[in-house]
């Protein structure tokens, strides 16, 4: 799936919690709290500051261009770089079932 060219909206899956370990931010798929039927992943993600920002953005539905624009505005990076970072992040988290495609478009511009 080419997430960068998609107009698809993405959002955090439920059942994923954020934990800090030795100052680092982790996404922990505590599956006992997950209620969807998707295949659960045993993979833990350690986020860098950019990843932490993007993860928080995905609390509400966003498209890759939305993420890139918000990243560019808050982190003072070029749009091309922001777009690449956002696309790679979404691709990785989608592969690990930490985010999901959603059809909801509410709040996308926040």
């Amino acid at each position: 799936m080419d997430v960068s060219k998609s107009e698809t909206f993405y959002v955090q899956r439920r059942g994923i919690v954020v934990r800090r370990v030795a100052g680092e931010v982790l996404l922990v798929p505590v599956a006992a709290t997950a209620i969807d039927e998707a295949r659960r992943s045993a993979e833990l993600f350690v986020l860098n500051p950019t990843g932490e920002f993007l993860w928080n953005e995905l609390a509400s539905p966003k498209r890759v261009p939305d993420l890139a624009r918000n990243l560019m505005m808050t982190h003072e990076v070029a749009l091309e770089t922001a777009f690449d970072d956002a696309a790679r992040f979404v691709d990785a988290l989608l592969g690990a079932s930490l985010i999901q495609v959603t059809h909801a478009e509410t709040d996308a511009s926040r």
Binding site: V21, V28, V30, A31, A32, A42, V46
Partner: protein, 293 residues
């Protein structure tokens, strides 16, 4: 009836209500006496391995799926890991204490003990908030303290165990799995009765003195590793009980404390004469804070 341990202080006992025999019972070193107090019981029986009424929670590889029962206790369905047996369902009876292993059919030959024993022990350890199991080769350094060499499958843990076996002052405890527990004075490391391909699983324990992430290279290299890369590497080789929130928090707290309190290095080396001695000497120096890396 077979009692194993203690494993990090816990005796595990198998009771057989099914025609199951183990093909790899440990030597006397790991055999607890039948009249020793028992901490964890695994009852083996034939029966339904249906997961009706259980909620799926986590898939680990191709052969294991974790579930939660109505009380939130974990169960594990193990598929196609014993010849002639489609599945084994390991269920919690009393969290931290009693488990039952239901076989869909009678095994046609003796089964590896580790198949049911390791998952049952893992569930009990996490239910007790007792510690975590690390995928690593652990050995006692000359002068004391344990060096834990972590690596994913195929990284060379068993080969390392063999390299170190003949080194003066070194005592290899286990070439594949080490239990880590949090104690008042720091993190403590314990051998387990589950060896890797090298077959090394000796009773013993020691304070954790140094952690190495091992890998092959054309020349010997040692470098310190901290922060995000260290945490990421630790999480690849330390089993976090993701099937239960509080238990995973406890395990992550241990990982965080390890990262903060114990020196961690990346250790790369070729397999050549003298490598075992270099590894032992280097890790001893790192543990003692005598090497700038």
């Amino acid at each position: 009836m077979t009692a194993i341990g203690p494993i990090a202080g816990l005796v595990l006992r198998h009771t057989m209500d099914a025609p199951v025999t183990f093909r790899d019972l440990p030597g006397s070193e790991w055999r607890a006496r039948d009249d020793d107090a028992c901490d964890i019981t695994v009852r083996h029986m034939l029966g339904s391995t249906s997961v009706d009424g259980l909620a799926p929670s986590l898939e680990v590889g191709e052969h294991a799926t974790y579930y939660s029962d109505r009380d939130g206790s974990p169960a594990v369905l193990l598929r196609q890991i014993i010849p002639g047996v489609e599945s084994v369902l390991l269920r919690t009876v009393v969290p931290g204490h009693e488990y039952e292993a239901r076989y869909s059919a009678a095994p046609t030959s003796a089964v590896p003990r580790v198949v049911s024993e390791l998952p049952a022990y893992t569930l009990a350890l996490s239910a007790r908030r007792g510690g975590v199991i690390a995928h690593g080769c652990g050995f006692v350094l000359p002068g004391g303290g344990l060096a834990l060499c972590l690596g994913v499958s195929g990284a060379g843990k068993s080969t390392l165990g063999r390299l170190l076996a003949g080194e003066s002052g070194v005592r290899v405890l286990n070439d594949d799995r080490i239990v880590l527990t949090m104690q008042t004075g720091g993190i403590h490391a314990w051998s387990t009765p589950w060896p890797g391909r090298g077959g090394q699983a000796t009773v013993g324990d020691a304070p954790l003195a140094v952690v190495a992430l091992i890998g092959r290279a054309t020349e010997r290299r040692v470098s310190a590793i901290r922060g995000r890369p260290a945490v990421a590497a630790l999480l690849q080789t330390i089993a976090i009980p993701l099937w239960e929130g509080e238990a995973s928090d406890h395990a992550l707290e241990l990982v965080g404390r390890l990262e903060q309190d114990v020196p961690i290095v990346r250790l790369e080396y070729p397999l050549e004469t003298g490598t075992g001695a270099w590894i032992a000497t280097t890790l001893r120096s790192v543990a003692n804070g005598r090497v700038e890396v």
